[in-house]
Subunit: 445 residues, 2 copies
Amino acid sequence: MGKLNELTAVDAAAGIARGAFTAEALMSDCLERVGQRDEDVRAWAYLDPDHAMGQARDADAALERLQARGEEPAPLHGVPVGIKDIIDTDDMPTENGSPAFAGRRPSLDAACVAALRAAGAIIMGKTVTTEFANILPSKTRNPRNLNHSPGGSSAGSGAAVADNQVTLALGTQTGGSVIRPASFNGIYGLKPTLGMIPRSGVMLQSHTLDTVGVYGRCLDDLALIGDVLSAPDRADAYSFRGSRPRLSSALAQDRAREPRLAFVKTPAWPEAEEEAQEAILSFTASFGSACTEVDPPTPFGQILNFHATVMGAEDLAHYAPLLEDSPDLISDMLKARMGEAARIPADSYVKALLAREKLQQIFAALFEKFDAVIALSAAGPAPRGFETTGNPIFNGLWTYLGFPCVSLPLLAVKDMPLGVQVIGPYGGDAATLAVSRWVERNGKA
Amino acid sequence: MGKLNELTAVDAAAGIARGAFTAEALMSDCLERVGQRDEDVRAWAYLDPDHAMGQARDADAALERLQARGEEPAPLHGVPVGIKDIIDTDDMPTENGSPAFAGRRPSLDAACVAALRAAGAIIMGKTVTTEFANILPSKTRNPRNLNHSPGGSSAGSGAAVADNQVTLALGTQTGGSVIRPASFNGIYGLKPTLGMIPRSGVMLQSHTLDTVGVYGRCLDDLALIGDVLSAPDRADAYSFRGSRPRLSSALAQDRAREPRLAFVKTPAWPEAEEEAQEAILSFTASFGSACTEVDPPTPFGQILNFHATVMGAEDLAHYAPLLEDSPDLISDMLKARMGEAARIPADSYVKALLAREKLQQIFAALFEKFDAVIALSAAGPAPRGFETTGNPIFNGLWTYLGFPCVSLPLLAVKDMPLGVQVIGPYGGDAATLAVSRWVERNGKA
């Protein structure tokens, strides 16, 4: 039947469950696509086709046994997922994007990988990450245009899903590492509320920011994998402690009323390209009275600095052993960045943490009046060339606040995709996905 | 009947409730004692005898009305309490121990003061604090020997309770500001779990350390006022979120078995005076097999530095507006301290926060095996002279961990009191008080 690799995860899972095709056939199409494109796109840090096919055949055999007993398969049965290479897997290396971890073989799956396997997913391979999920550009190319960056740090995950090499993928975000690649590669991405997806077994660089996120081909794909992954993590002080409404249930409901949307330019606005500004202004204008421009009060103007301060200080604390033990294996770009971070005084970091509490209260009041915030997903489309992974300035502020963010591939600038970002309140991931569906159906680019 | 001011809070409240004496008579005895001693002890930042007597007479009148209706008075009805002068009161100035706040009149009671009033307590006056509850020595003298420091920063609260000028008092602890004055002045002190008592309306200097605590003349006094004050604080991210067993109920129960005690010398041990070391060694030896010396693993050895880093960084962030706005009104001692804090790099602070999580886990495991930790309350008795408020080195580590600490006035060195510190697990305040009773009854100095 061909091109199973282009299916959404929802359709892939349903097709396998009802016997329309096998997990093996799906994996075979994915691997064929990888074979055609890997030399150009370079999305994989580790991919053993035999191991991937073996897992798919095992899934097909398991499904036969399940169905013989009259049981339903798990929600991701047979669906291939790519895992960013800072997330531990017990059957593949996890090298954290750095020669300092070359050949490293974790003995345990990360909690999120274990949850995927329990849900029937096939862990297809490890996707390329920038060095430690930081900013050093990776080898991966943007499948929409090979002369452009795929973004970072979840470069391979974003590119592989966009290029139909894999159905779903995991990323992580500390600055803009989930939403930016979603925007640059023209796919759907969800950076959930801080701590919504367990972090045990994920390399941390900034413990108050690092968030595991997901990529898919539609909102239902994000909900499908998001529900599988959403769970408390007892080992993590930053795990989300509140209630966890199901994402797929929220998406399935038709909204009773038009949402109230707040368009927030953010202090990053002057750094956005003019065509990106025009695109989002025109898009938000298409909502008429449902969308109002809002400029949150002080200290919102300093939020970009606060994020940079928090990330710099925490990165340095987490990287210190590496910088001491393997200085020759750390990039000059990261060393320079850590040299700057070493000059951050502790009281600036404390102030940035205290300001976060204040800003979270300001936004809690804003979310009493609005269902979601709309903003650009990135300052512009994927940059041409590979000097940088692109500007994460439209993402770090939301990561700092811990709020759920969705990127919708609804805009285009200079023949490249650009995302619309939908941001919701802390813990409001399900409602934010539902608003995102309304935005997707009703907005005009 | 005379000397009502020497009663415990439990006896004072019971005597008033059953009509054995009036709140007015109790206050009159307290004020008489203040009149005799204030020139020497100097425990009060603000005390208006007429206002105090007026409140006491109002309490007596209210009690008559209550009893005419057959109702019981609230647990602290008519009992005088001294309030450290960094805690807001709506009827008295709150000057935070600094000319920068001279004449400041808050419009609202702090949440803990409001709770005391609701429980029938008489807010007798404001007790002397060091500048901003930091380390600049205050005017207060130690009532046990006027040539010695009363400790700090809750100097007036500790001295006034010890000198029978007031029945109970509130203090706060960031380093050792509740437990050290309890030890130096020979009274009972409780620094509860971080966030057990609401902090709204208390001047903060270090938001992950600052803890409101209480002074009394016996363990039952601590339980009586502690139960009145224990409540969540919605406005405070560090408010304790767990269950809150009643302190007085825990104290009232006879322990079914001997507690298992861990004597921890702590990395501060080399700074303790030799006679203080001998006193605590002899005291813990008196428990025989019920007490075992324990030396927690790495990174416990660095805990003194971690506390200093956290306190320095947070103090500087909180004091920054004051240092900018009123530099001439800030002491040179505090300026020098903040000059040092400005050199703390942010990543050291981050590491100190991360180490706290690890150390809390280490102690959680320790508290599976032991009911409480025993340690010195201070490095020695109150120092002679007023150059410093004494060494808080036996306290900051426990404040850093957020654990409840009780100081029992059971030892003496050089004719001055010295406390035994009982430390319990996070949230285990009630059980820690119960162990403290056993320690008091069974330990031999």
